[in-house]
C-alpha cells in the first residue's frame, strides 16, 4: 500500500514536470520575450539590457528552466495574458469544478444503482430497456445533452437557470444532471455485469434456490463484492468528469477550472493553461490514490 502511494506520487511529479517543461519550452522558443511587452519601443538598448538582466533573461536556458520549475512548483505563476493573476483565478474557480464533479457522481450513482438492480433478468423487458438507455446515454456527446437540457428545462419549461452561478445551488442542477446521465451508463454496464456474475456463482445459486428473488439476492450477496469495482469505476470517471466539466462549464457559463482551460486555449495562453492542467493533474492524482485505498480496504484479496 505504502509502496503504491509512493509510486503514484512519483508519477504525479513526472506528469507535473512534463507539463511545466512543455510550457517552458513553448515560452522560451516563441518569438521575443517579455521585454518587448513591458518596455516601450523607444527604450534605449541599455535600458532593455538592464531589464533583461534583472528579469533573468540573460541567464542560460538551463538556469532559467530550473528557476521556472521552482516558481511553477511553488504555485507562483505569472500573470495571464489578459493581465490577472493566475493563482487567484485558479483558487476562485477550483471549488466550482470540485462541487460539480461530486454532485454529478452522486447523480450518476442515483441513476445507475436502482436501474442495475432492477434489470438483472436477462430476457426481461426491463433489462432491454435499461441496456437501450445505457447505449443511448453513452452516445450523447456532453455538449449536446447540455444544449438539449437547456432548451427543454430552461427555455421551454423555465425550471432551472440556463447559465451562470447567480441562483446558487439550482444553477448546478442542470450541469450535474447532464454529466450524471452520460456517466451513469458506464456505471450501469459495469455494475450489471458484476451483479450477474455474482448471481451465477455458487453463492448466487444458493440464494436463488433458497427462494430469494433476483433483486433480493443481488442486493444481499452482490453489493459487498461490487464495492471495490464500483470504487475503481468512480475513481476513473471522476477523472474524466473533470475533463467533461470543461464542456459543461462552457455551455452553462460556470466559472470553473474547465472553462478557464477553454479560455486559455482560445487565447493561446500557455502559462494559464499549464497552471490549470497542473492543478487538474494534482486533483486526479489524489482521486486515484483515494480510490485505490478504498479498493484495497474493501477487497479482502488486496488487504495484505
Amino acid at each position: 500500500m505504502k509502496r503504491y502511494i509512493v509510486i503514484r506520487i512519483l508519477s504525479l511529479l513526472i506528469s507535473l514536470v512534463l507539463v511545466s517543461s512543455v510550457v517552458f519550452l513553448f515560452s522560451s522558443f516563441s518569438e521575443g520575450d517579455s521585454s518587448a511587452y513591458i518596455l516601450s519601443e523607444s527604450s534605449s538598448s541599455e535600458n532593455i539590457e538592464s531589464y533583461r538582466e534583472n528579469a533573468g533573461l540573460e541567464d542560460s536556458t538551463i538556469k532559467r528552466y530550473f528557476a521556472f520549475l521552482a516558481s511553477f512548483f511553488s504555485g507562483d505563476f505569472d500573470e495571464s495574458i489578459s493581465g490577472y493573476p493566475i493563482k487567484d483565478a485558479i483558487v476562485q474557480r477550483l471549488p466550482v469544478s470540485l462541487f460539480l464533479m461530486f454532485f454529478s457522481i452522486i447523480i450518476a450513482l442515483l441513476i445507475a444503482l436502482p436501474l442495475s438492480y432492477i434489470s438483472l433478468r436477462q430476457t426481461s423487458l426491463r433489462s432491454k430497456a435499461v441496456a437501450a438507455f445505457a447505449v443511448i446515454s453513452a452516445s450523447f456527446p456532453l455538449f449536446l445533452i447540455a444544449m438539449l437540457s437547456v432548451l427543454l428545462f430552461s427555455v421551454k419549461l423555465q425550471l432551472f437557470p440556463a447559465a451562470g452561478l447567480a441562483s446558487g445551488f439550482s444553477s448546478f442542477i442542470l450541469p450535474s444532471l447532464s454529466l450524471g446521465v452520460v456517466y451513469s451508463s458506464l456505471f450501469i454496464r459495469v455494475l450489471r455485469r458484476k451483479l450477474r456474475e455474482i448471481l451465477s456463482s455458487p453463492a448466487g445459486f444458493y440464494a436463488l434456490s433458497a427462494g430469494m428473488s433476483m433483486e433480493e439476492a443481488a442486493f444481499v450477496i452482490g453489493t459487498r463484492p461490487a464495492i471495490p469495482l464500483l470504487a475503481a469505476v468512480i475513481g476513473e470517471s471522476a477523472v474524466s468528469i473533470l475533463g467533461g466539466s470543461a464542456i459543461i462549464e462552457t455551455v452553462f457559463a460556470l466559472p470553473g477550472l474547465g472553462s478557464l482551460l477553454v479560455k486559455a486555449a482560445l487565447e493561446r495562453d500557455a502559462m494559464l493553461s499549464g497552471a490549470a492542467v497542473a492543478v487538474i493533474v494534482i486533483i486526479t492524482g489524489a482521486i486515484s490514490i483515494i480510490s485505490e485505498i478504498v479498493i484495497r480496504v474493501s477487497d479482502p484479496k488486496g488487504r495484505k
Binding site: I14, V22, V239, G243, T284
Partner: protein
C-alpha cells in the same frame, strides 16, 4: 444489430462524400427552415446546413481514422517491443500511467493552447490522449499471448522475435485491435466534435458537427433544424459504433 449498425455507418459515409461543401454565404436567405432547395435549412450566414453537415462528417471521419491508425500502429509497435526479452517496459508504463491522470479533453485543450488550432494539431493531441491507454492494454495483450505454449515452443526452437511476432502474436491480436480500434474511433469522433464546439477544434470556416451546433446556440429557440440534423448524425454515428464495438452484454446464464 451489427448489420444495421454497419448499414447506418455506410449510409453516413456515402452521405458525407456526396453532399460535402463549405457552403456559400448568402445573407438574403439566413436562417431559412428546411425547403426543397436547402433540405436541412440554412444558418445565420445563409450557408446550406446540408453541405456543411456532410463536410463536417467527412472531416470528423478522416480525423478519427487518422487517430485510430496512429494509435493502433503505436500499439502494434509497442507489443513488438514488449516481446523482446531485453526490452524494459517499466519506463513506458510509468510514463503512460502519469499521462493517464490528464483527462483527454484537458490534454487536447492544453495542446491547443500551446500549438494553436488546426487539424494536424487536433490529430496529434487526440492520438496523444490514447497513448497511455494503448501502451497499457497492448502490454497486457502481448503478455497474454507470449505465455501461450506455441510461443514458448517457437522460442525453444530458436525462432526469432520477428518471426514469432508476425506468425503468432499479430494474428492473435486481431480481436484486440478491432475492439480497441472501434473504441478509439468512437471517442475521437466525440472528442473532435466537442473540441470544435468549444472553438478549439477544426478551424473555421471549415465546418464540423460540433461547430455547427455551437453556431446554433444563440438561435436555439427558433432554428431547430440547426440542432436536429447535426445532432442526429452524431448520435447515429456514436450509437452504431457502440453496437459494433461492444460484445453483447451477457456474462451470466
Amino acid at each position: 444489430m451489427k448489420k444495421a449498425a454497419l448499414i447506418i455507418l455506410f449510409t453516413i459515409f456515402v452521405f458525407s462524400l456526396a453532399f460535402g461543401g463549405v457552403g456559400f454565404t448568402d445573407l438574403q436567405i439566413r436562417l431559412m427552415p428546411p425547403s426543397s432547395e436547402h433540405p436541412f435549412g440554412t444558418d445565420m450566414l445563409g450557408r446550406d446546413i446540408l453541405s456543411r453537415c456532410a463536410l463536417g462528417t467527412l472531416i470528423s471521419i478522416l480525423i478519427a481514422s487518422s487517430v485510430t491508425a496512429i494509435s493502433l500502429a503505436f500499439g502494434i509497435l509497442l507489443s513488438f517491443l514488449y516481446l523482446h526479452p531485453s526490452f524494459h517496459e517499466g519506463i513506458i508504463l510509468s510514463v503512460s500511467d502519469s499521462l493517464k491522470s490528464i483527462p483527454s479533453i484537458v490534454l487536447a485543450l492544453f495542446v491547443s493552447a500551446i500549438a494553436g488550432p488546426g487539424i494536424a494539431v487536433l490529430v496529434i493531441s487526440l492520438s496523444l490522449s490514447h497513448i497511455s491507454d494503448i501502451s497499457r492494454t497492448s502490454y497486457a495483450e502481448s503478455r497474454r499471448i507470449s505465455k501461450e505454449g506455441y510461443v514458448e515452443a517457437a522460442r525453444a526452437m530458436n525462432g526469432s522475435t520477428r518471426w514469432i511476432f508476425l506468425h503468432h502474436v499479430l494474428p492473435n491480436m486481431k480481436g484486440y485491435l478491432y475492439e480497441q480500434g472501434i473504441s478509439v474511433f468512437l471517442s475521437s469522433i466525440i472528442a473532435e466534435s466537442s473540441l470544435s464546439f468549444l472553438g478549439c477544434g477544426v478551424p473555421q470556416p471549415l465546418p464540423s458537427l460540433g461547430s455547427i451546433l455551437s453556431d446554433a446556440r444563440p438561435v436555439m429557440t427558433e432554428a431547430w433544424w440547426m440542432i436536429l440534423f447535426p445532432a442526429l448524425i452524431i448520435l447515429l454515428l456514436a450509437a452504431s459504433l457502440q453496437l459494433l464495438g461492444s460484445k453483447p452484454d451477457t456474462t451470466a446464464h
